[in-house]
């Protein structure tokens, strides 16, 4: 199949679904579908660091926050100027331009943040790296809390709603295709070699430093994109949405689904998001039940539900990480 046919078909299907979905499944389910999409982007991108490169990051919420706030600031503060410059376009096209600019800014800002966090990963390993990434995530959150122009502790309100099912799932598609192509390329083999044995990888001539930073940057960029889509859907941002517990949930998605498998990350994102909604029926026991289920899954199936299983196998998967 030619590539452009695939993307054209995808665009048509997404646009068709966007126009009918809300009516079909109702506003509440629609919102869950959107959240699932955003979590898929986050989980698949986190999987690049944690699952494929074997570095342990618990700071994904930080990059997510950077993206969300950058994009919202660009649109809120730069919005009027951009709209004036694109006044000749119809309203929908203006919105699309605005959102795309926001997304690009979000990806760049989050990528820079990822680069800044990737640098200490050169020196730190394992649990030390984990706690530093967690620390960076919290530092980012506290900084946002203290910047008044983006709402600080009040939260950032007045963000126009620009993203919807179409944009979120276009983002999902782009993320999945990019990460899939990436991990099946020479870059991906470099990532996986670092995960499996860093010293051997280095001895074989893999520039481990460069690839580790690269995986951080790419992963953060996608987290930024997810943040942008999130902010422009909910129209309101608060630093508490980006607590380290958010990072925990993302790690849960990746590990429950199966570390080092894109399908696993997708399954994990869908499962965790949907389960948390379904468990609402249990009222106050929602998170109690969720946590018990989580513990049991990890005890009885430590490799995650899918393990390293993959649908589009282009090569033999490596055994799960230690």
């Amino acid at each position: 199949m030619k590539k452009w046919v695939f993307w054209l078909a995808a665009l048509v299907v997404l646009a068709a679904m966007e126009s009918s979905l809300r009516g079909l499944i109702g506003a509440y389910n629609y919102q869950i579908v959107i959240l699932v999409g955003i979590n898929i982007i986050l989980a698949v991108s986190l999987n690049l660091i944690n699952g494929y490169t074997g570095q342990f990051s618990i700071g994904h919420a930080g990059f997510y926050a950077v993206g969300a706030y950058t994009s919202a600031s660009v649109v809120v503060y730069g919005g009027p100027a951009i709209r004036a410059a694109t006044a000749f376009l119809p309203q929908t096209a203006q919105n699309a331009v605005l959102l795309l600019l926001g997304i690009i800014a979000a990806a760049i800002a989050a990528g820079i943040a990822g680069w800044a966090v990737g640098i200490p990963s050169l020196r730190l390993r394992g649990d030390y790296l984990a706690i530093v990434t967690l620390g960076f995530g919290e530092i980012i959150r506290v900084l946002i809390l203290n910047i008044d122009a983006i709402g600080g502790a009040r939260g950032f309100s007045g963000i126009p709603q620009l993203s919807n099912f179409f944009w979120v799932y276009l983002g999902v598609l782009i993320t999945v295709v990019t990460v899939h192509n990436l991990v099946n390329s020479s870059y991906g083999r470099a990532f996986i070699s670092i995960r499996d044995d860093e010293i051997a990888a280095e001895a074989m001539g893999v520039d481990t430093t460069r690839f580790k930073v690269m995986s951080f940057v790419i992963s953060s960029m996608f987290a930024g994109i997810a943040g942008s889509l999130f902010g422009h859907y909910t129209m309101y941002l608060h630093p508490n949405s980006f607590l380290f517990t958010t990072s925990f949930y993302l790690i849960i998605m990746v590990v429950v689904g199966g570390l080092g498998s894109i399908e696993g990350a997708i399954l994990g994102a869908v499962l965790v998001t949907v389960l948390l909604e379904v468990f609402r029926e249990f009222g106050a026991f929602r998170l109690v039940n969720f946590s018990i289920l989580l513990v049991l899954i990890m005890i009885y199936r430590p490799q995650g539900l899918l393990g390293a299983w993959t649908l589009f196998r282009t090569r033999k998967p490596a055994p799960a990480t230690k």
């Binding site: 649990d127 960076f136 249990f282 026991f285 018990i292 513990v295 430590p302």
Partner: protein, 353 residues
Amino acid sequence: METFLQQVINGISQGSAYALIALGYTMVYGVLRLINFAHGDVYMFGAFMGYYLANIPWIKSGVGTSAAGAVFVMLGAMVLSAGLGILIERFAYRPGRGPTRFTLAFWLGLLGAGGGQMAGQTFTSVVLGAFAGIAAGVVLELLGIRPVRQESRLALLIIAIGVSLFLENGGQQAFGADPKFFPQIIPTTSFKVGPLDLDSQRVIVLLVSLVLMVVLNIIVNYTKTGKAMRAVSFNLDAAKLMGINTDRIIAFTFALGSALAAAGGILVSLLYPRIDPLMGVMPGLKAFVAAVLGGIGNIPGAMIGGLIIGMAEVMAVGYGQSTYRDAIAFVILVLILLLRPAGIMGKGMIEKV
């Protein structure tokens, strides 16, 4: 100068509380190489156990007036939390390391108890639910559903996060989500030492943490169990081959760490009496930062790390902006790890190929 000294004293008492929690992290990390994210919640549990013990009717009269009351509350909470630590180890982390019995029965029993509470809201329904869950768990186990032997440290970490979520949310169910006020278990008296204002709480916090750390040091360095603990943390497999019952030592480590966390919880509650089920999240995280700062797995390191974090936080609030309080610990962490990746007292590990 006086305010500075005053802040130093505040910092030391805050820091010694962090140090007590950090010790549990570092000991568990030492034996299992596991970041026990549930540890901060054990600290919360300790504070709540202290609260309930101090409110037992026949204790209540003695609390706040006699030393025996305070000691009872403190030791009681430590023992109960040690029990919780052992339970967590037995039913969450040990099955995460290899096959053990009654895991499903334990968790399904809890699930059933929750279900019973939701369905009937009576004691009988809770007990019935719990029994149904336990029965289901035993049957499933007889059918062959057992934990698998695994080497995955990551799965263990997710289990720790799961247990932490469980304790936080279970705590909100069991203790109520609204904050409670910790009773004054020791009488407050203020006095002056030179130009400094001291109160009995701060002095007690300092003294008790000091005593606990000395006791811990004696246990770890001068008893047979302590020797076994050090052996396990040096090399678990070799310790096993030398005839050490490693599972028992690990359980003992959890008990010890949890008791210290409970002590920390009560001491902090003396200074800041507001307690709620989520109170352990941030101190837990910061105590972990303290443990890493000192060099994780290193007991004196945890004490030093705790003091540094506590001191820095108090200084930041006293002289800087209190809104940055939660970031201070992490900024120090990042800076120190960039200079000394193994922490202050940690030994850099040489990687053998």
